[in-house]
Structure formats: C-alpha cells, structure tokens
C-alpha cells in the first residue's frame, strides 16, 4: 500500500492559542515578543497585525510605529513544543501515527486512514473543520511523501491533495524554499536564478551535489519519494492496541460497555493468535472536549478471557465521566506475556493455586479492593511467634519450609499482647488466677513454661515464658511472662486463644 502523509501547518500557532485563552484578542492586532539583547523582538504576529505589515523578527518599537495601539504580550519559551505535543495527541483520533514538526507543524502518517472518513477530500476537510472549531488557522498538504505534503501545506494554495505518484509534476511550480532547505541554500539558488523547483529538478544530481551539498540532495529525494523518511510519533505505537470510533458521541454507560466489549473481543482474538495474554490493559476514552478518561487494570496471570477482562474493567467503568460524549475508544495491552494454552477440564481437581478461575477471582478482588487485601502466608524459620510466618511475595510462591507442629500454638494470636493481672504462687509456676479485660479466669489446667528467647540479631529485649492455661469454662489461653521472675519489673501478658 502506498504511504500517505498529511502535513499540517499552523500559521498562527502561538497567537491562536492566546486567542483561545482570551476571546477578546481576536478583534485586535497583537504580537508576542521576547527580550533579545536588551530589546523586545516580535516572535509571533496575529493575522490582523500581519495585515498592517508587522512580521516576526521586527523590534516592538518599530511595530509600534505602524500601529501605536499595538498590544504586546510576553512570549513563553517552550510554548510550541507544549502546544504541538497536546495537539499531536489530540490528532490521534485521525491516525495513530502523529509526529511533531517543530516549530509550527504536525506530520500525520495517514496510510489507510482516509477511507474511514469517506475519501481523502472529506478527510482533509474534516480535519480542517475540527481545527477551525478549536480556533487554529491551519493549512494542509497531503501527498505520498512527507516532503511534498510539507511543501504544499506551506507553499500551496489552501489545502492541497497531491494524487499518488504525482508529486514530481506537482512540485514543479513551487519555490525552492518548499524543499525544507537552509536559508543560505535558498539564497544561493535565488542568486543563480533558480527560483522554482522546475528550474533545477532536471539537472544532474552530481552537479547539484557539488554546488549545494548533500542535505540538498536528501531533501529533494525525500520530497520526490526516492528516499525514505522516518517520523517519530508523539505517542509510541502500541503493538497491541485496538481503536473504535463512534458515529455519535457516546454518553451512556451501556454505550461504553458495548464499545469495551467489542474492543476486548478483537484484541483477545488477536492476542490468542499470537499465543499472548494480557497482564495490564489500558482503556482510554477520548472525549469531545479534548480530554481523555483512562481506566487501567492488571491481572495476576496472562489471560485472553475477554469475559474476565470485561468484569475487571466493569468495576472501574463508573469512574469514567463522559461529559459531552466520547468519540473514540482505544484499548491497549500495555504488558503482555506468553500463554501456554491449557487443557482446561482435565487438571481441575489438582490445579490448586494454578487454577484459572482462582486467578480470575483474585484479579477481581484485587481490582476492587486493592492487592494488599489478599494475603498468603509461608512459614519462616523463627521461634518468636510474631516472626514465625511471613507473607508470600507472590500468590504462587512455592513453600520450601515445613510448618512446625511440635509445640502448641493458638489459633488466634493478638497482634499486640494484652497485659493481664496475675496471681502466681511460686517462681516459674503457672498462675492460679488471671484477670483479662475485667473478667477473672481461674486456671484449672496449665502447661509450660515454654521459654522463647529474643533473637538478639534482630531485636533486643527480654525473653518470654509461655504457658498454655485452661480456665474454669474450658477456654484455653496462651499467656506469657516477660522477663525473669526474680526481676523487679516482670510483666504478664495474654497473647492468644486456643481452639
């Protein structure tokens, strides 16, 4: 398929932006200026001021001679980059590949896009209309090469469409500067009387190269299509990305859901063919007013189950605010992984943690409440009760240590031991009575002590002497004494409840 490019030239990029911000400026001549060597130099001119003969590079003082009431506003450094970046992203509704052409243009790779708008003429008109609505004066050129499109955007009459493979004849009438040449080269051409492209296009390349340098030849070849030219898109092209444009702006949840479903199915089919699965996906809604709403989901395991993915998105769809409507949806698989197609039914009994439905359940819970709510514990090789287990890093982490069952451990462990009052008869004997939260418990049976020392390499402190005690009601508790009985300041705590 032949490549097609559109070059957009913003004649009054910066001043149009100021007018967009303040409507009143559209009726009066004004310029932007920035200080240069102690003088104010005009850097941008609006159409009204231009009609009066003011042009960029003039001194503000000189411009004020022409129009004494001229409005002078401060230019902002870096403004074109910022504006073109934003406009470029906005243009993604017309084509996925948009590049900035500093200082005042955009380049669109529209290969295979125009027919979606009913032909190239309508496509160009549509883009033109949309920019006009935004308040930008644009001129556009469409051609097989970037060079020709650029030339006709700036030097053609209005918006021009150059038919496929006609760029060589079309370029003939344009001035030499249309080839994106250095000002010095253009001057030299003018000095030699070579004012338009037809004057030199038929000259031997070796002659031209000797007089005007290698860049000149490159530019000429790029315009004619003999040499390929690459552009850098403002947004890197996602490998797995689906788009859906809507005929009318969509404002209902049902509409958004339908769009998402359709996109998911296409994307999942595409991924399935390549044996890939989605780990993170991003659903973007481009609104009519130029803003985008984004919803992102993640999964524990690569999946192409569109129903499951839809459920994950569904939890977050209510966060999308359609405002005046959404005109474009894109769904991008940001992170993909290879999937091994599994025999689904045969292994279900022993699938354990690797069960697909389990992974999907975890995705749903993590998507709704956050991944921190899901925990799985593995044994840790410590005797200190609080450190005797650790949270698994991943849901599927393998367990290499066995759980210790030699010593009794309570089914419920208080995160901080609760202080209790105790009556204990002789040193190192279990207590006879203890009071916990105002209730007196009489110890009938007791086991212990089990001394657990502090792990000095981790933490300093006193050891604990644990007792298992059973009270008059048959309830079993885990209590401990912190420190030696002979110490002045030993304390008793309740640490857990046995089943």
């Amino acid at each position: 398929m032949p490549k097609r490019f559109v070059a957009i030239w913003f004649r009054y990029l910066k001043t149009d932006w100021f007018v967009r911000r303040e409507k009143a400026l559209s009726k009066i001549p004004f310029v932007l200026a920035s200080p240069d060597h102690g003088r104010m130099v005009v850097t941008a001119v609006n159409p009204l001021a231009e009609q009066e003969g003011i042009c960029t590079g003039m001194l503000v003082a000189d411009a004020r001679v022409i129009i004494p009431s001229l409005n002078v506003l401060d230019d902002q450094p870096g403004l074109p980059e910022k504006l073109l970046g934003g406009l470029g992203e906005w243009c993604i509704r017309f084509t996925p590949i948009v590049a900035m052409d500093l200082p005042d243009g955009l380049l669109l790779d529209v290969s295979g896009c125009a027919h979606l708008w009913g032909g190239e003429q309508l496509y160009i008109e549509h883009i033109h209309k949309r920019f006009k609505e935004l308040g930008y004066h644009v001129r556009m050129g469409m051609a097989d090469t970037i060079g020709t499109a650029w030339a006709f955007a700036r030097y053609g009459n209005g918006s021009a469409i150059i038919e496929s493979n006609k760029q060589a004849t079309a370029l003939l009438v344009l001035p030499a500067a249309a080839l994106r040449l250095e000002p010095e080269t253009v001057e030299r051409l003018h000095a030699l009387g070579l004012r338009s492209i037809q004057h030199f296009i038929n000259m031997p390349l070796s002659v031209l190269r000797r007089r005007f340098g290698e860049t000149f030849i490159t530019r000429l070849n790029q315009a004619l299509g003999n040499e390929e030219e690459m552009i850098t898109p403002v947004q890197p092209i996602a490998v797995y990305c689906e788009r859906l444009t809507s005929l009318e702006p969509i404002i209902t949840l049902t509409g958004i859901e339908m769009a998402l479903q359709q996109l998911l199915e296409t994307l999942c089919n595409k991924l399935l063919h390549e044996q890939k699965g989605i780990r993170t996906a991003c659903f973007k809604c481009y609104r009519v007013d130029g803003k985008t709403a984004t919803v992102e989901i993640g999964t524990n395991r690569a999946t192409v189950n569109s129903k499951h993915l839809f459920k994950l998105f569904e939890l977050k769809l209510s966060a999308i605010e359609p405002a005046f409507g959404i005109e474009l949806f894109t769904l991008e698989a940001k992170r993909t992984e290879d999937i091994v197609s599994s025999q689904s039914t045969l292994w279900q009994q022993t699938a354990g943690l690797h069960h697909t439905e389990l992974a999907e359940l975890m995705d749903r819970i993590a998507g709704k409440f956050g991944a921190h709510t899901i925990k799985r514990y593995l044994p840790a090789e410590h005797y200190w009760p609080e450190r005797s287990y650790k949270a698994a890093q991943q849901l599927l982490e393998e367990n290499n240590v066995t759980w210790k069952v030699e010593r009794p451990r309570p089914i419920q462990l208080l995160s901080t031991p609760a202080p209790i009052e105790v009556t204990a008869p002789v040193p190192d004997y279990p207590p006879m009575l203890f009071r916990y939260k105002g209730t007196l418990h009489k110890v009938i049976k007791a086991d212990g002590p089990e001394r657990i020392e502090q792990e000095w390499w981790l933490q300093q402190g006193q050891h604990r002497d644990y007792y298992v005690v059973e009270d008059q009601n048959g309830a079993r508790y885990w209590i401990f004494r912190l420190g030696h009985y002979t110490d002045e300041n030993y304390q008793w705590f309740l640490h857990g409840f046995f089943a």
Binding site: R364, Y389, W403, A446, G474
Partner: protein, 242 residues
C-alpha cells in the same frame, strides 16, 4: 412397609434434596473418617458439601473454638491439595496453628476487608469460583437475602461455604443448610498434668433434611474423636430453631 413403597419414598426424598439445592449424594457411607458421629443427623448420611454452613459464636473464646473446628472440618472434608479462601475483617488467625488442625496454612488465601458489604461481595465471588474447595468468612450479620445469594452461588460451583457469625445481634432465619455452635470445654488429661487435646461442645442447632444434635468432640491425631459417654443427646430446646 412394602419394599416397593420404601423405595419410592427414598427416591422422593432424594428428589426433594435435589430441589432444595443440594447435590445428590454419591454413596451413602461416604462420610470422612472421624465424622461418623454425625451420621444419623445428616441428610442421606452425607456431609452437605456445595452448601453454606453457618456457625454462631458469641465471644472471643468462641470464635477461636469455631475457627479451630472449621479448620479441622475443612481439612477432613476436602482434598489436601485444595485451596481455601478465608475472609475476615482483620488479621487474627495465626497461620502456623492451622497446621495443627490438618490444614496447610500455605494453601489458604486470606482476604482482609473491613466492611461487611465488601466481605459479602468477596464471599459471593469466591463461592462462585470452581477452583476452590471451601470458603470461610467471618461476619457479624447475615440477612436472609444475602444468605440466599450465597446459596445460589454455591449451587453453581459446588464450593462449600462456612460463615462464622461473630457476636450476631439477632439470629434471623437464613437459607444456610445448617447452623452450629461450637464452644471449648475442659480437655481430657486422664489424670496427667498439663492441658489435653482441643475439645469442643459441638451443637448442631439445625440441619436441613437432618436432625439437630449435640456432641463432645476431641481433635487428636488429625481426626475427630467422639466422647461416647454423653452420646448424641437431642436437646428439645434446639428443635425449635430449626
């Protein structure tokens, strides 16, 4: 009764079970070891899996006893490789202790959610998941409507649900297949010093298509043991709650 008539009645009872959302029983004597004491009180002498069971506990000691009993029950009725999801409002369960009841702590996925609404949503989602063997949820209140949602979820997936109702304000009717109350009682030491194996007073307050009952059960050597001397007294009081 004529044998033919008895057969018809047995068939009808089976159909009734099916209609009330229970899976048809495979073999009548399929009770896992140690659960033999429940035999006469269960529908078709089979422990109802693919159903939701309700446990009522009044205080912290009761919660601990119930958690222990449920862990032991889950380990008895499920495959050792199966995965259990345990939902609770806070972190109280001590994973290393679960191993003492035969359940592998690393085969349990803990989900901690603070609000009852969130817990119910997650429980329902978990009960729908065919990759699980059991779902345990610690809740305070369970309305009739939400219990019905849970029951509908398990009928599709054949997961067994255990709802631990911690300190409920009111015991309303639910669609749960059974209601239990577990409390710790003094352990047996046979005259030896120390504390014995975990021992519970297991009260089966109601069992759909079964009978209520009460037992003293001990957990030792990785299975339930019934204390025969006070075997299966049916308290008249509890009949009404069923």
């Amino acid at each position: 009764m004529l044998p033919a008539k008895a057969y018809i009645i047995a068939q009808l009872q089976k159909d009734l079970l099916k209609l009330s959302g229970m899976k048809p029983a495979g073999h009548a004597s399929d009770l896992p070891k140690g659960l033999g004491f429940l035999k006469d009180h269960l529908p078709q002498a089979n422990f109802p899996t693919a159903a939701v069971h309700e446990f009522v506990c009044a205080n912290k000691e009761g919660v601990a006893a119930t958690e222990g009993f449920v862990s032991a029950l889950v380990s008895t009725i499920t495959h050792p490789d199966a995965i259990t999801v345990w939902l609770s409002p806070g972190k109280t369960l001590f994973p290393p202790a679960i191993k003492l009841f035969g359940l592998d702590p690393d085969r349990i996925i803990f989900i901690q959610l603070h609000q009852e609404k969130e817990l119910l949503w997650a429980t329902e989602e978990a009960l729908k998941c065919r990759g699980l063997a059991a779902v345990v949820c610690e809740l305070q209140e369970l309305s009739f409507t939400s219990s019905r949602r849970l029951q509908l979820a398990v009928e599709q997936s054949a997961v067994t649900g255990f709802i631990l109702r911690v300190n409920p304000r009111k015991l309303t009717a639910t669609t749960c297949v059974s209601r239990w109350r577990i409390s710790s009682i003094a352990s047996e030491t046979n005259g030896m010093p120390g504390v014995g194996f975990p021992k519970w007073d297991v009260e089966l307050l109601k069992m759909r298509n079964g009978k209520p009952g009460s037992w003293e059960v001990e957990w030792k050597e990785n299975r339930f043991h019934l204390h025969e001397h006070i075997a299966a007294v049916e308290p008249q009081l509890h009949r009404k709650t069923g």
